[in-house]
Symmetry: D2
């Protein structure tokens, strides 16, 4: 198991969905930062279950308790320990999956790799873990204050925004349950998720994230290129299947003369197909990227699978699950982006002579 992310701003986490608590340790947070605890809780609330009709109806307050590293409201430079208690576990919901494996779920691989698994909820593989990331990301956001990180839902199933992020009013992202800044598209997405939910089915989607005011110099080639670390972070989110930045997969169809971003005399560029990164180092332009989420594996339908003894069985899916993870994943994408940028902020600082 590898439960740490980051080099200088490092988060180490623990916790199963149905244990006493989840939590983590933030190591490397600079001293003397006056924290805005409401802003941290607000980010947790963006992720928490039960916030709207299109997400899981599980109710958990997701209240973070800080145990160390903060004195009189200020960070002390020592490690910040925190826990988030699990208050709404209904372990009985999982008795049916105790001995069966959900298709396309971590149930099977955890059981085979470790020889046993905590079958209540997803155990350690549950997306509940991402609440820990929100805490660390929310602190990072406060330190990086001039860097503005905005993620939003770009597509749900086949319903996709047909505008670039520059054409959107990102301040509208939080105005609807699906977190799509275009109201018309948002309505279609919400309706689609509701229809899918009625079927006991699930649907995938994509998130776009934009980080503005990233200073030139973030990223440490060869192996810690900014986009490589962002990609690794995004690919750790449950259900993520792909990552692309700047022109991404579409850009592969272009010629160099079409794709290159011409310079302005101040070093900025006229276009930004590069996604704000050259040679793995931020160039001062907007950093932006897309993240692909598969449909959630846990269905509330009947499905065929196998049990621990290798028998074919037919199971009725139960529990309270998201029909689409994308809306709740928006703050998670932002949190991980903040953590990665924070790490490079510290790394870049370190070698200043």
């Amino acid at each position: 198991m590898s439960n740490s992310i980051g080099k200088l701003f490092k988060l180490t986490t623990f916790g199963e969905s149905h244990g006493a608590a989840i939590g983590g340790v933030i190591d490397g947070c600079p001293a003397g930062i006056t924290l805005d605890f409401k802003a941290i809780q607000n980010e947790l609330d963006r992720r928490k279950p039960g916030q709207s009709a299109i997400v899981t109806q599980r109710k958990e307050p997701d209240t973070v308790e800080f145990l160390s590293g903060i004195f009189d409201g200020q960070t002390t430079g020592t490690s910040i320990g925190f826990i988030i208690k699990n208050t709404n576990q209904k372990s009985q919901d999982y008795s049916d999956i105790k001995n069966t494996f959900r298709p396309s779920h971590a149930d099977y691989t955890y059981t085979k790799k470790y020889g046993l698994r905590d079958f209540r909820g997803g155990g350690r593989s549950s997306a509940r873990e991402t609440a820990n990331w929100i805490v660390a990301g929310a602190i990072a956001k406060q330190i990086l204050k001039d860097i503005k990180i905005n993620a939003f839902t770009n597509s749900v199933g086949a319903i996709a925004l047909d505008k670039s992020y520059q054409e959107l009013d990102l301040s509208q992202t939080e105005s609807n349950a699906v977190r799509c800044p275009d109201t018309e598209t948002a309505t279609k997405m919400i309706d689609h998720i509701k229809a899918i939910k009625k079927q006991g089915d699930t649907i995938g989607g994509t998130i776009t994230c934009v980080a503005k005011n990233v200073p030139l110099g973030f990223g440490e080639p060869i192996f810690d290129k900014l986009h490589a670390r962002l990609g690794q972070a995004m690919l750790t989110i449950n259900a993520v299947k792909g990552f692309e930045y700047g022109s991404g997969f579409e850009g592969t169809k272009l010629k160099g003369s079409e794709h290159n971003d011409a310079f302005n005399v101040d070093g900025s560029t006229k276009t930004n197909l590069s996604g704000g990164i050259q040679g793995g180092i931020s160039n001062g332009m907007d950093v932006y990227f897309n993240v692909a989420f598969k449909p959630v594996a846990t269905l509330l339908q009947k499905y065929d699978t196998i049990d621990a003894d290798g028998n074919a069985v037919n199971v009725q899916g139960k529990g309270r699950h998201d029909p689409c993870v994308v809306p709740r994943a928006v703050p998670i994408v932002e949190a991980l982006t903040a953590m990665v940028l924070m790490d490079f902020y510290l790394l870049d600082n370190s070698s200043k002579i």
Copy 2:
């Protein structure tokens, strides 16, 4: 700078395209492995410049010299130091770019981040670095012998394979210069690259990689999920803009009931949209993924840019560059895949009680 990749099978590299040599140190290679040096050189030859009409015409033998860690043909468990001498540098080719920045190239960000740069070739940002990866990857391949890793060119510009990897004969990949296992498509790709080259332009493309016989259990959640580490590795390759595994971006459009891979009673799955990975851990099925490469930034045309003093200038691109990096990147993708799998091989071994 961060010049190491891997945790237990770790490669640390150095070298600029126009210095005396590039090279690296492999730390963590198990002892007692009898190395096939011809196979290592063969992998280097697959990557080397000048191998066909559609790649850079620079001629370099790329001969690796091992300096340590091997005794009587066997690995000793100590660190393996190696160098690859640079023999065909033509630094004068770069005098024109000494004071100007190529658009969409690392020239600008390196200069601004570090305060200076080795302007000969790409310096440290040159893809010549990838020869180091080939060496480590070739050794990893020999240790992982039952795991078969095959990458191939999936698209060049808009010309794409219309078959899945299962429908292709991957043994044909090396039969043509573009490394596409379908002869008809390969011919179109080659013709397209030749036409692009004539224009002094460049073109992007994608590579698919398949790893067969990966044992169940590779991958260390939460933060070292197998696909997250593969993604990070791929995103370190020069010109890469995106990574997706299994169903990838297309999979986001599906419903869970369409996307889930139903189990056979032996634990294998009837479909494999998961790309051989569940919850970040290999499940015993084929691991496969796509990598997106942008068109090379360096053009052999006239282009507008700025110089170090911030003046707008018009420059005639010179030198010997690839019109499309994809064919030479195929062995690079394989090498990094081998290194990542090797690392998980050792990590997975470590906790066996």
Copy 3:
């Protein structure tokens, strides 16, 4: 701040002496270990304050609560989060040191490095942190079961054992409050500590630690030699000033012909001045070493110092402190030794082909 120790068996900790709780995350504990929770609590009890007349009279139960990574009494291979609540803080005792710096204490350097400090108790620099290590060490001990680790008090001030560890009955270590396995010497040590305590003063001492049945092969040269990692671990314990293994400082006076350990035909050695380690790798003989502890800095006397404004002041030391840390440090030395050996156990396993 650096709050993690270990590479594959890694402990990350947090907590100030007067916060809500201290705690940590153990990453890398193998799955399927049935834990003996009583044995863990027993180790904590050996370290806890208030256990005898010669240690601090602070009363804290030091009860560990595991929050994750354990299911039905077994480790699951996921990270083990735990907390130990702080129940007996008397912050008012520290109001006198809020604005002054104790000589030879971390007060001053923490304040200057971080710009502020949690002045209650030692804050993060408090030896309360070592309770976290006990938890991780106790788990490691259970996994390493055949390896027997025994530490004991070797000297208090000038009162020292005059026998080698082979001449002692180490099962007697816990039979007295000072944890010296020789009853006669123990009595002298206890009397000495009592006399020192009466003066409001403190005294130093040394601990010897012996690990039996360490398999040949633990230690990863060049930079993770077994003794180097043991040394680093011991030097992290509060008040430690020195580390030596095998013949140590005394061995520097010998000639090679006197110092070399002659082999028996089975590869064991007739003597063991090497301390069970050759070239940084355990050789199958007993591993043993000494650790030097300075006298505690916090006195219960009047002393001269300076305040935060740089004024000379005279202060009356208060609070409940150990007159000699050595007796309570014995289980701490064992815990860290177990953690280091556990790490090498996993590292050594990893490269087995």
Copy 4:
């Protein structure tokens, strides 16, 4: 194997004593440093064999060749690769030890751990490796220029300096072959080593190292305390058996009231039994410590041992070895000290907001 040291200023090394070359990669050296190559070579010359009558008579120039990371005499911020060719190997000298194990030498443990060993010289366990450290340390010294690091021979066998470092003129260290700044003591030490050498025997000793002008704030508790990292570094040097800083083992005999360093009003201290470190963080006073070296294991006498088949044999030691490693270890101690301090320089910088 673990062949890297440092976190932000990281050296990764390779090389056997009788391979083509040894070398390393320095990762994290800041950009824009104009290097003094003569000073680097000068440090190598202080370590090289054959420099005086009391060290091994092997003649090797130990010339470093830099392969990358330096352009026009300046560091570029990219990794610095270097090699030192092995020019004076006499492998035939080792034919006698091919099948036998030298007592108290790494021969045995390497063979048993890795299943084979490069028996020429010490292979990877040879102190030749330390030449790599000299290179990295010499570069660190140049960057840390105000910090003055001086090591010297404190004792050879039972012949020890009876003065503290403050009473010595450290500029005299290089004035004699044994590197003891007191001429009278130096003469005794040299005579003693010559007598020992005549016997084909070896002798141990100790080195003291002093670092002046270390800024307050170096050291990252809990687990990267400055003295813990110095200790680990020193304990990686071949033949080292112990480390103590400040008052060290002697300090354990004192009372707190005797041991505490009283403050001056400017925060400096009247005494410095602390060795310049409080709570693991430098306090602005001199950092000083002692390192214990055992007598070299390789004797030029007849000795009893066993062979690879477990037979008792009697062997005549041959080859060119140091009768006492201490004089040549003085620059090694300095180099590692510089590397550790350089690492903390960068770490401390990193979290400056």
